[in-house]
Symmetry: D2
């Protein structure tokens, strides 16, 4: 870099891009970057041949005084590829709403990593249908919203939730062991923006009480799956999975306890990947740029 | 140990025992061991409370001149517990028949570990419905038996296989990617004595082409399962499982390749556990003393 | 079990035993158990041939009305083996003092598991040389003791610490990223009772700034080690270790962040193993009955 | 892609590039690719800020009739960045010489993966200082060269080895448990082209008998390290590492056996990474594009 360039203040941006694959996309992106005096810090791309889908994630240092023009020019230059494109300052954290019920293990882990500064999100609200976890949330200065759900109030409460999403400008929602099923209508409003943790290594044990199913079957590993929520329960695109080894000594209650550890680990990883714009959707599969 | 004891030649035995749980079993076992001047080298036990099943595995150094009497007395002393009991010299290897088709990855791994001296089995025969792997087997001096299977010859060939089991004194059979389904009649003759490797992390993807199912579902881990064969396909008691991490870059063919590595690893581990008498059946679950 | 036996209230006890190996130990233990109407629930043993050391851990259901007599008789019966023996009610939790400085990651994990009920300890005090973590501790109702250390006050403060151990009846001490070095005199008073977490996969990178050493060397895995504290820094008997995979993208600060996760996981596991009497010392090596 | 483009035969190439980081590199590469009707299939890049080193790996589909011109133009276009650049057809396998002594575990694994078609190398020779493994090699039709080494013959034998490298056009050499130390002179002729497997998780246990050191220290994990050979023994740039969990039951001989499994796994992975041009050297550290 020349002395002139290093003298300009640089602002790191995160670019993600998805479009139909065709020649020239990277040339167009990199030419635009170069011509604005910006520099690629990190880059990963993947073309899924079968669906002809191209995906890209870049971290780009952009001169502060060129940032607005860069954004405009990049969108203009790429318009012919008709991309789904996101460009944001890396320092502007993704805003998230956490939804919980009574179980606290996922919430503990998310709060721990957030307050430690290694989970780049802005937690704008915690929503629950129970008061139980309020004391865990409030000392951190995060607003806690009680939205109890009954069959009669579900429509009304989801309306409040939608208002909260709008008011807080939340980018995504994390169901951190939220035990209620959101309506199809609600889910379809936020495609690829709601993350759930399923307490099973999908598709191993769908439905209720997966640890009891695992015990009965005598499996040697149990797992957890973080996935985007779609109207098809337990079938949304998978973001992250992991397993833990168990033995014959472990009864259902032990599996529940051990499962909590893998659940919270998997969910935190998925939230981090999403918050850093590292998850790209191609159909019902995900591309992970880690 | 006193000088007199160390002067006697000791022979290591492996004892396994399964019976209904009740007080006094360990006391009876250890008293018999002590009274014959034998010594416990290694011991593990587990009582499955729900099924009231007690299981035990011991390695015992028995004075050579007391070995026969020890065997008789132990069986006599324990008879009141009505146990399923096995006592054998550790140096007398379990005899195994390997069954293969055309895929060689599991066979390679079993042969490697066997010839390296770290898989304690005596491979008495390799059986296949194809000639393909004969050249891999014969340099090792292991008899290769061709038993091609058609719908018309299945009954006849299984009869030959039963004869082979009898003639070789085989303790167990390993289906090392043997692509034929054994008849219910055959399976039921050797309960807990036939090990299969399933190319999936059961119960995730049962049935055909699990790696293609895994690709379609976009899972982040694929696995393999070694289990005992029962008449209920893919449902026998699980001995060992493991997984390997995959990414969006891996197509079905990649999963097949990566799957081979986890299959062979899991099968070899299961064969070792079985050959060392470390797997106990309690109903349709296994106790693993590793 | 007969109806009469099941009618008696049973109390689960944990027995650990270490002595010179010789025939008859298990016979003596199991005969005593049997004769008091007690029953072995879980048992593991290991004889380290080279050092002639025998180690055993049992969980035993003892009739409540026979518990005192069982304790007396067992000690009497085993006295000829001159064992190091511990027998306690499983429900009586081990008492622990946690020592911290400013880093909170290990403390968070220990508090989380403790309040979730899956870390069987009674945290009788948190001691720190800084006020920093007081707000994290006090909402849980755990006494927080500030013991700032300077070269001048070290002797005096360690005396206070010893008094605290005595007053609280603490069974063991956990250095949860406590950045001070305890004196040899202090350490030697509590052999096998102080657990430290070292932020390296020992013996890979001893001494200061192991993550910076790991970065410089370009390793592909970093780890953490939980060990008992002896006067020989970084050299005490190892209880547990684990690693996490890193890549070229991770700078020293990333390794520090990723290292925190493996540190807290390893320390919590080590504390659980110790609290459940699953760690036996044989010389400078540990036997782990997990 | 337009119909015209898909009609042209495409040949997949692998491009790697390393140079001082400055703006415009990716723009130059991607513009050249675009202007020749080629297409990026896969791409990864990394800029190591501290050393100002830029590294890139791409898989590019190049029209067959434009391949020669593309090669020329790309080198010409990038000349101003003074890169270390490699461009080759993906189907042209890297040629490798394997060097062994008597231990066969790494050789078995490399041969297995090679014959299974999932290790993209052309094994042009196996060299050994012993006859032991000749029978394992020759059935595969691979030339076996006996080059026994004594202090007197070392210079002469290394000369033969250099001639063999030249004659076979070998791209790299793999020391698959070759127990001789190559001379500094020999090593310095092939920087980044000789891969060794060290039977330890470096830098944990350097020098001789690492498994005995590991036993003595009572570690809970043992590992292996694949690294490039430099004149500084055990200190070359690390390509891959892995570990396996051990327990107190495992004596030195068990560690040796278990270590073999992790050694062969790590070495095979390292050979695959190198053969696929996924390892880039930046100083004494490696960038791995996997």
């Amino acid at each position: 870099m020349s002395a002139a360039q290093t003298a300009r203040e640089l602002v790191t941006h995160v670019l993600t891009l998805r479009c139909t694959d065709e020649p020239g996309i990277v040339a167009a992106v990199s030419q635009t970057i170069f011509s604005h005096g910006a520099n690629i810090v990190d880059s990963a791309q993947y073309a899924h041949e079968r669906s002809q889908t191209f995906t890209l994630r870049m971290e780009i240092d952009v001169p502060a005084d060129a940032a607005t023009r860069f954004d405009t020019d990049l969108r203009s230059e790429l318009a012919r590829f008709d991309p789904i494109l996101s460009l944001r300052r890396k320092a502007e954290l993704r805003r998230v709403i956490l939804m919980v019920s009574k179980a606290d293990h996922c919430l503990w882990d998310l709060l721990y990593h957030w307050q430690a500064g290694d989970l780049p999100v802005d937690i704008v609200a915690v929503v629950s249908n129970h008061e139980t976890l309020k004391p865990l949330v409030e000392p951190h200065g995060i607003p806690f919203h009680l939205l109890p759900i009954t069959p009669d109030t579900k429509v009304e409460q989801e309306a409040k939730l939608r208002a909260l999403v709008a008011d807080t400008g939340a980018d995504f929602i994390v169901l951190a062991r939220y035990m209620q099923i959101l309506s199809d209508d609600f889910c379809s409003r936020y495609p690829g923006r709601i993350i759930n943790i399923h307490h099973s290594f999908l598709p191993g044990f769908k439905g209720a009480k997966p640890y009891h199913q695992a015990y009965d079957r005598g499996v040697k590993l149990i797992g957890a799956t973080a996935h985007y929520v779609t109207s098809d329960l337990d079938e949304g695109p998978i973001i992250e999975q992991d397993v833990v080894r168990i033995s014959h000594r472990h009864l259902e209650d032990d599996l529940v306890k051990m499962g909590r550890d893998v659940e919270r680990r998997v969910l935190t990883r998925a939230v981090r990947l999403h918050a850093e714009d590292r998850v790209m959707l191609t159909g019902h599969r995900t591309v992970i740029f880690d």
